[in-house]
Symmetry: C2
Subunit: 338 residues, 2 copies
């Protein structure tokens, strides 16, 4: 099959790899219908995460089940499925508590920018759509495998409630999905922090009520000004740097909450500052599996259309251009069709 490999930072290639095979009786093999490039793939691409040796890449996917292992009963050949970037058994205590990405048997699914993918723990990981989706739904369904579920978790961890004020730090695909989630969870005011016109436009379309272009101390002051000096009830931190975390913590009202979903790179949270802020903080890899049934319903109902975050669609063979476009911020997010 054709599959994407990262050889070293900046070096993305499509190569021929052996087709994946069932390894465990709980596996499924899916034929990828659509996959995409994640902001977190750029950590490798930019050399911020080390790339010690060439390896397959990509962890977002929707597809059709090609084959299932002998113990798989929840999905069957021919079904259209979506799954999380972490395989999970969906039965352990952590899964039952809703934290499927802390599953006691979790396994990171990599190599999805390819024609076929092996999915471990298929019964726990995959959710079949009620019917074969129309072509127009495919981009939105694809976002449920990561970014839309991640934005949802950011809003849930930040405890967005009806009538509340939410701030979204980060205007990438996750931040934009966070705007959708905040709106769906009933936020009355949604302040998107963004400096890029195309992203501001999409944020407003998704439900943002205010755009803040300032950053750092000025950005914090602007949020305070917009909230009568109080700070926001909920802040969604969708970047993962020290600056974005500081921005999030200091934009939140005492008693408010920060949900942080940008994988922290070199972030340290000063205990004393957090203490005196009275801000609640929860983050982590989003348990997107837990949200799939609900979010699939919202997509099929036409309530949400997160697929709009894809502003570039390429054939898999042009994946390298997909990375470049995102790296150079020419694209918010690249969808790939194998």
């Amino acid at each position: 099959m054709r599959a994407t490999m990262i050889h070293k930072p900046g070096d993305i290639r499509v190569e021929n790899l052996p087709d994946p095979k069932i390894v465990s009786p709980t596996d499924a093999i899916i034929r990828t219908v659509a996959t995409c490039v994640c902001g977190s793939d750029l950590w490798d691409y930019r050399g911020i995460n080390p790339v010690d040796q060439p390896h397959p890449i990509g962890h977002e996917y929707v597809g059709v089940v090609e084959e299932v292992g002998s113990e798989v009963t929840g999905v069957k050949t021919g079904q259209f499925v979506i799954g999380s970037f972490f395989a999970s058994d969906n039965t352990c205590p952590h899964c039952q508590a809703g934290y499927t990405t802390s599953c006691q048997h979790r396994e990171f699914i990599n190599g999805c920018q390819a024609e076929y993918v092996r999915i471990p723990l298929a019964d726990g990981t995959l959710v079949a759509t009620p019917e074969q989706p129309a072509e127009e739904f495919i981009p939105s369904l694809l976002t449920l495998s990561d970014v839309m579920g991640t934005g949802w978790y950011a809003a849930a961890a930040a405890e967005v409630k009806p009538g509340s004020t939410a701030v979204v730090v980060g205007d990438g695909a996750v931040g934009l999905s966070g705007v959708i989630a905040a709106k769906e969870l009933g936020a009355e005011r949604i302040i998107a922090m963004s400096r890029h016109e195309s992203r501001q436009k999409l944020a407003l379309e998704f439900g943002a009520t205010d755009i803040v272009t300032e950053r750092g101390e000025e950005g914090i002051a602007r949020v305070k000004e917009l909230t009568g000096g109080v700070g926001a009830d909920s802040v969604l931190e969708c970047v993962g740097t020290q600056e974005s975390m500081t921005q999030a913590l200091r934009s939140t009202r005492p008693g408010g909450n920060v949900g942080f979903v940008g994988v922290p790179h070199g972030v340290e949270i000063p205990g004393e500052e957090l203490f005196f802020s009275h801000v609640g903080l929860r983050g982590g890899p989003a348990p997107v599996r837990s949200y799939l049934p609900d979010l699939i319903g919202r997509v099929f109902d036409g309530r949400i259309n997160p697929g709009k975050v894809f502003d570039l669609t390429l054939p898999l063979d042009e994946v390298a251009e997909g990375y470049r476009a995102m790296d150079e911020r020419r694209a918010i997010k690249t969808l790939l069709r194998p």
Copy 2:
């Protein structure tokens, strides 16, 4: 009046100071009926916090109103009152959200180890008891001015729920109060981490179901063992060191919560570890004012008896011995009678 001054670390003296006077029309003056020494006073006493010049000390008090300013309407002369260590107006947005210790007009109340104290923002800060309390209730009522309210906040911030498992890190007066709070909030299992026999005994009397004497990695392993490998739903961090914070975070299940009330000294929370833990974290100076009406009721009803944390009672003139006894861990907490 006689009042306690700290001159330098280890140097506590009772001296004659001028009686406090009404400064602002929202002030009240109270005659202290009982006061005490806080674990956080020991930070000064031990020189961990700098003591640049001699200053009055103590922030816990119950007393009788002696005089009120012209704008005070909520309490009157002769009433028995309890208040928080932070004065608060109880009307600003932060107070209304329940975070009185983040009041936009907050003022730290110091110098309570004395015969009289000036209380700013008396209407927002003080709560009168329904009647003059019997002598036996005075120690418990005194704890509501800080440690019992702080333990309560730790349990609330850690989201202790009926049927849940709670761990309490720290066996000082706050940790022991946290055991009471966890029990009142319905925890089914309460694991107290303590190495001191007298404190273990009190923890068990207050509702702890398990005692863990191990610390560090061994302590974490023991909590995991007691919780079927899962971790606790709620952890109350009542110390404020890097070690205790690490203990708390690593003892919590994914999706669980840490409430931290030990004032952090040099604590840094690694963003990446917090991220992958899925643990929620909220701390701060406890908004004890918010809890006063409820907790006063629980004391008068005889439901809780947090006054048992006082295992040493001294006249104010012997305050120096009260500090020494706590510093040397001969006493859990010292009550002082002016």
